[in-house]
């Protein structure tokens, strides 16, 4: 008898559970494939930025399309693109045809991104890049709009703007050198690592710097894997350079900065040093990396927009790392979902129309797409920033009272401090 009751009880429990679950509405999802080299820092930051966007959007009620509400679901797609282009292309096709993602966000290496772009366009999937900087990607939109219109770039600025920004940063430092050291025509040593991307930069620097009221005293091309750049730095000291214009995309940026500080080379260092963007830079240089100035995207305490500091702090809290431009997936997903809401459909053609109307205050600036679906560069839109290590802390030092023709007010982001000339340089030139 007791057994019978037990059976009935279990049956009743099953029926109740079934009824409860049948009453629940299954949530519907917009699937976003986050593509990147997930075993590397770039991919990790793609993913972290995307996860933060997913949580924030879902917490705010999801994405409304007509009467329906969708939740955002990010799917991690490891493209392994740093090592293999085939792997990246395979991963993207798998994401589209097996995981059935609605959109693609991320990518880092330009060569692989071109291959992935073609696949995404074959399937008319909206693909928002947050990492690859080459202009060829956006040129394709201009040359064949109907095919490539589904492609957009949120970060970084394309490579030609990066060169422009780094030269503007050089002009800014040259102005301070003129003002504080009284040197009217500063001498510039160009130090560009032996990387492919460095070749046009070296050519541009040699051609443009003399037209900017400076004098080039020589060009040095250390190896990207150099562990010692004493020879180059000694030659620079002998050349009488007041400023070193740098480009280091690889690990050699660490020995360069360490030896520059250790040898107290009497020249301000300014340009691009990717290693100087990371949190562990000061430790890696044994503390000698102070005063190194590099182009960057975000910095602690620097508010390009109202959203920057909140995003920055949240990212650092979650990952223990400073966010790189790859974390722009956060803004990209917000932009994408808002365009979907405005379009009121998941039809890619309708979403493209809305994406083109984007005017969004993101963490790194105001994002508006140009005709090539590239992020618009300039004051009031997105620019890079200049960050300098001061007393072991990363500070934003540029834009600082930056005034371009046509601007009514000079631009300084809140939280920006003034650039500091290294004390040994001041001492050397009696500043």
């Amino acid at each position: 008898m007791r057994k019978k009751w037990l059976v009935l009880l279990v049956l009743a429990a099953f029926v109740m559970t079934g009824l409860t679950f049948s009453g629940c509405k299954k949530p519907e999802y917009i699937k976003i494939g986050i593509i990147g080299p997930m075993q590397f820092l770039q991919g990790r930051h793609h993913w972290l930025g995307a996860q933060m966007a997913e949580e924030d959007i879902n917490a705010a009620g999801g994405v409304k399309i007509g009467d329906k509400t969708y939740l955002v679901k990010c799917i991690q797609i490891d493209t392994n693109e740093i090592l293999s282009v085939d792997d990246a292309a395979n991963a993207v096709e798998r994401a589209i045809t097996v995981d059935n993602v609605d959109f693609l966000v991320g990518a880092f290496r330009s060569e692989a991104t071109l291959a992935m772009q073609d696949i995404a366009m074959d399937y008319k999937k909206i693909f928002v890049v947050c990492g690859a900087s080459h202009t060829e990607l956006s040129n394709r939109v201009a040359s064949d709009y109907e095919r490539y219109k589904y492609w957009f770039r949120v970060t970084p600025e394309n490579v030609s703007y990066l060169v422009k920004d780094s030269l503007i940063l050089l002009t800014y430092v040259a102005g301070i050198v003129r003002e504080e050291l009284g040197i009217q025509v500063p001498k510039v040593a160009v130090v560009i690592e032996q990387a492919v991307a460095g070749d046009p930069l070296a050519a541009a620097a040699n051609a443009l710097i003399p037209t900017m009221g400076m004098q080039v005293v020589g060009t040095w091309r250390p190896s990207p894997t150099a562990t010692d750049v004493t020879a180059e730095l000694t030659a620079i000291r002998d050349s009488g350079a007041h400023i070193i214009y740098t480009y280091f995309s690889a690990a050699s940026g660490v020995p360069y900065a360490r030896q520059w500080g250790e040898l107290e080379i009497p020249a301000c260092s300014v340009g691009i040093n990717v290693e100087a963007q990371s949190m562990g830079f000061i430790d890696a240089t044994g503390g000698y990396g102070n005063y190194e100035l590099t182009l960057n995207t975000l910095a602690p305490g620097c508010a390009q927009t109202d959203k920057t500091i909140e995003f920055y702090n949240k990212f650092v809290e979650r990952s223990g790392e400073y966010p790189t431009y790859n974390a722009g997936t956060y803004d990209a997903i917000w932009i994408l979902t808002q365009a979907v809401e405005r379009a009121g459909t998941l039809d890619p053609d309708a979403i493209v129309v809305e994406m083109e109307k984007t005017d969004y205050q993101g963490a790194a600036g105001r994002i508006v797409f140009d005709q090539r679906h590239d992020v618009t560069w300039g004051p009031g839109f997105v620019t890079a920033i200049g960050t300098q290590w001061q007393n072991g802390e990363l500070k934003c030092v540029w834009p600082y009272e930056w005034l371009l023709p046509g601007m009514t007010e000079p631009l300084t982001y809140p939280g920006t401090v003034k650039y500091q000339i290294p004390p040994w340089v001041l001492e050397a030139y009696g500043g």
Binding site: Q39, D78, R94, E111, L114, V196, A197
Partner: protein
Amino acid sequence: MRRYLAYLWREFRGEILVLPGRTILFSATAILLILPLLYPHPYLLRILALTFIFAIFAASWDLLSGFVGQLNLGHAIFFGVAAYASAILNLRLGLPIIITIPVGAVAAVVAGLVVGIPCLRLKGQYLSLATLAFPVILMGLVFMFTEFTGGELGVSGLTRLAPTRLHEYYISAFVGVLSILAIWKITDSKLGLVLHAIREDEVAARASGINTSQYKLIAFCLSGLFAGIAGGLYAHFMRIAGPQSLSMLTSFQAIIWTIFGGIATIYGAVVGVFVLFPMLEVLRVAPEIRLLLYAAIIVLVLRFMPEGLAPWVVDRLERECPRCKEHNAFTRRECRVCGTPLRVPLQKTPVSGEHMSGGEGLSASQEGG
């Protein structure tokens, strides 16, 4: 017609069905050619098309390094030269695929001569190091003439191999099967015998009147031709020819696939690609440890199957006749050609004074003389 069909069936039964290894290869090829019609999933077809392309590439390495013993560590040069040549011809001159891929393959043959001539007098590790240098030199040229080669970014926006994925797959599959059969046939021909002799003992081959330099150059050119076909197909399939096609990773992939599958067999190289390349896709289920698992599987297979996966499987499915050296299915008791017993009972320990009788206690080789 009926007689012709009966003849075909007889040949098929006598040449293919008679050996498990050949039956498996035939069945796999048949499945690969029919499956896409039943399940034309674009991702599956993509992986299989690339697998066919890489199978040609791996088999071409096996031809040069496995059969002729010219250990080439820079095989990517042939692949890359053809990929770039096809890409530049297609993009800059607007030539169609039917021209760009063959011309790319010819460019790879020329690359074979360029690599082969200076390497004729080199052997062993010196040859390997010299071959390793060529893709590096070419990579330098790619970065020097960026207006033609696109530099770091490569040449992109090429014409698709075919308008649909199914067509792309069948082009890759047919070219793949034909190329692999051609390589197999070469190794089985008189030329193959000479190449084999050069690998075994070059001095002896020369002493027998073989112009080894000429044959080695032929091997470099043939290997270049097939690697070039793969390179051209790859460039149009991916719609990009970039520096990666010349990278060391590309060269080493061919070596890994071939050694994993079984070197100096051709079919081993093909099996290696068909196991390892799709396996890398299957391992996407565990992205964090994907490459680790991949490496671990290769190490384990090579630890327990040192001659490679395919020869290990064939050794278990087939038996070589000790007399005529023909292969037989493991189920056979006697050789299908000469009738020599293949399964001989264990030799009994002779009891003192007892004479061994007949052939029962003899090993097959003793019996066969």
